[in-house]
Symmetry: C2
């Protein structure tokens, strides 16, 4: 096929993703969900306008690294000190309860498997997908209600950051086990070494960047070198430590997150991301999602997966919030706020497909979880706030109600 | 090879291109030249860190489209009305004299060939590469001298825009002839039809965009849909009209160039371009440039090519300027100002390699022409201005001298 055919695919993907993304936003669903649906529509399952290709796969891969790099960049380490211990507990509980519930769900459907078996890791991986919170939708909902800067809001934000970090560590360990012939202790050792390497390397790089950043604010060089570092660390993670490449990209972002120019870097990445790589990534999930394989079994599993995913997060975070001293309703708000899933869940799932840990047909379940949780969270939050403080929720910009 | 190896290549390309690009700027050469040299250094010819791959080829291809789209976006149609006829004459002469001289050069080296033969089109293509002026360096030099807004400066700018448009038309026709079995009249007909299609399609799209643009300024949708249109038109040009895809990308830019938001679109494209796609494109030229094939013949041809390329532009544009009423020295300034070549010459050459019209070993000649012309132009301009108006060239920002 001639090279220029790729332009046709890109044009269709970009237009379809944008239109469906806007459509999704209209019905208060996340744009990402719209972009995935666009992929399903233009892909082989429905219209057959665009087929999956190696090139799209590589572009999507770059898209994932950009997303994880940006996620890392937006980590505010200083925020964590404020809400500290409470947020840490909520995050931990919010990671481990869904992890366990997800694994149990898999066992309930496909039978129990002993520790260390392939089936066992599949189960753990299904739980793994449930761990990553994505608070973008929650933040927007709280902003609309004018409650973002209250304790509940800041706690959710901090817990979400810690949730990301723990999630990345757990993922790194789980992916490290993907090769059953590999030594458990070796995997743990390499993972540990990788984090040590990141701390040393990160400290040096951060210092160098800071010196440079002070002299040259807002120069193009900073995001460009940052991006190169993101790619280099992604490669090094996989190649030399057997750690997931997305972990490398995320940590590259965290290393640069305390720079004065981190917002500037993040903005530049964002533009690259939303123009080409992002739509290609999300649409390619839809394109790959073979709907012909969709059957009753997957549907039933998906519904259970969505229910378990949402309830386990609410319970995990809510209970921990209650224990750390929040009142019942506030604890519930935190649980609901942490319930939304987003692109990170997809990225984790995608990684599982790539390394052959789970079957791509599960992407349907993940997509469903993202859509359902993103739509229910704002509604639940509104109800929870409305009940108590009627009339008070009309904020300065008067958007509530 | 595992997918993540691509991150290694990208990291190396981005870093090397940036460092060499900055180095080039230090010695007053264009950044682009530095990026190409970076490609030669990291490529198989020297260090062997990065090999050429299909994926890099595709990325470079997207990079070319972005560059041409941006070039189109920056076309100021309204500018043309001011200097009008004079600029048109200078541009025409500046396209056709180099086109003829370049072809004659090829004949001088490899023997004359009759009209319509393969060898004949190769000669025309070599001439074709010499037509595209790139005034970026000139504009910078004139800015430093504080002479950009004088008649000579504005005339150069307008002539350069017209030069681009004529160049694109000639390229489209020449590429149309690439298939010797093709009918001449059919090629001309399809090219004509393509331009008619672009005018109709462009007018409709422009109207729609303008309505949308008025309601929503600076929304992300405009550059995104613009980019999709760029890809769609590139594809349609090649697929349905047999016209070069870069023509489609350039025209997509021109269509949107009169929008109020055209600068905004162009800025977003620029970010995508300089972060990833641009460095990959320029470095990949270096990576592909097999230095082992470099020999005395190519060197001699390259030197002659550079000399002919520079002199023919100075004579072509200078003579036309003199005829249209400029004084001798001013005519010379215009000739020298139009002499620089840049990425468009490379893109045209690259297109020639892709369709098998000329041998990739000629890329050395093109790279040499870009480097030499970009370094000599500012020096010549400074000399020409210095002689007449000593002491006057120190501008408000005091950068001259």
């Amino acid at each position: 096929m001639e090279k220029y055919y790729v332009f046709k695919s890109l044009a269709i993907i970009i237009i379809a993703a944008k239109i469906m993304g806007l459509g999704a936003r209209k019905i208060k669903a996340p744009q990402v969900a719209g972009e995935i649906v666009a992929g399903i529509l233009i892909g082989p399952s429905v219209l057959g306008l665009v087929g999956y290709s190696d090139f799209l796969g590589q572009m999507a891969e770059i898209g994932v690294m950009l997303l994880m790099f940006t996620a890392g960049l937006e980590t505010r380490i200083s925020e964590l000190r404020k809400t500290g211990v409470k947020a840490l507990l909520i995050a931990c509980s919010g990671v481990f309860i869904p992890l366990i519930c997800g694994s149990l769900l898999y066992f309930a459907f496909y039978g129990f498997a002993p520790w260390g078996s392939e089936q066992f890791f599949k189960a753990v991986f299904i739980g793994m997908i449930l761990t990553a919170t994505s608070v973008g939708i929650t933040v927007e909902a709280l902003k609309e209600l004018g409650k973002l800067s209250e304790t509940v809001g800041t706690t959710i934000m901090s817990a979400a950051i810690i949730d990301d970090v723990i999630g990345i560590i757990v993922l790194t360990i789980v992916i490290g086990f993907k090769d059953p012939t590999q030594d458990v202790s070796r995997t743990l050792l390499m993972t540990g070494l990788f984090f040590v390497f990141c701390i040393v390397f990160g400290y040096i790089v951060y210092r160098l960047f800071r010196i440079y950043d002070r002299k040259h604010r807002h120069t193009r060089r900073i995001p460009i070198i940052g991006l190169a570092m993101c790619f280099a660390l992604s490669f090094a993670a996989e190649r030399y430590f057997g750690v997931a490449d997305i972990t490398g990209a995320y940590i590259a972002g965290v290393i640069l997150s305390s720079l004065k120019d981190s917002q500037y870097i993040s903005r530049k990445m964002d533009i690259n991301s939303y123009m080409i790589f992002g739509p290609v990534f999300f649409a390619s999930i839809g394109i790959q999602n073979d709907m012909s394989k969709f059957n009753m079994d997957i549907l039933v599993f998906s519904l259970a997966f969505v229910a378990v995913g949402m309830i386990s997060k609410v319970i995990g975070c809510g209970a921990a919030a209650r224990i750390t001293g929040f009142k019942g309703r506030d604890a519930l708000k935190i649980g609901c706020g942490m319930m939304t899933r987003g692109e990170v869940a997809l990225i984790v799932a995608q990684r599982g497909f790539t390394v052959g840990m789970i079957d791509p047909s599960y992407s349907t379940s993940v997509i469903l979880l993202i859509i359902v949780s993103s739509i229910t969270t704002p509604i639940l939050l509104k109800l929870l706030y409305n009940d108590k403080s009627q009339g008070k929720e009309v904020t300065a910009d008067g958007t509530a109600g």
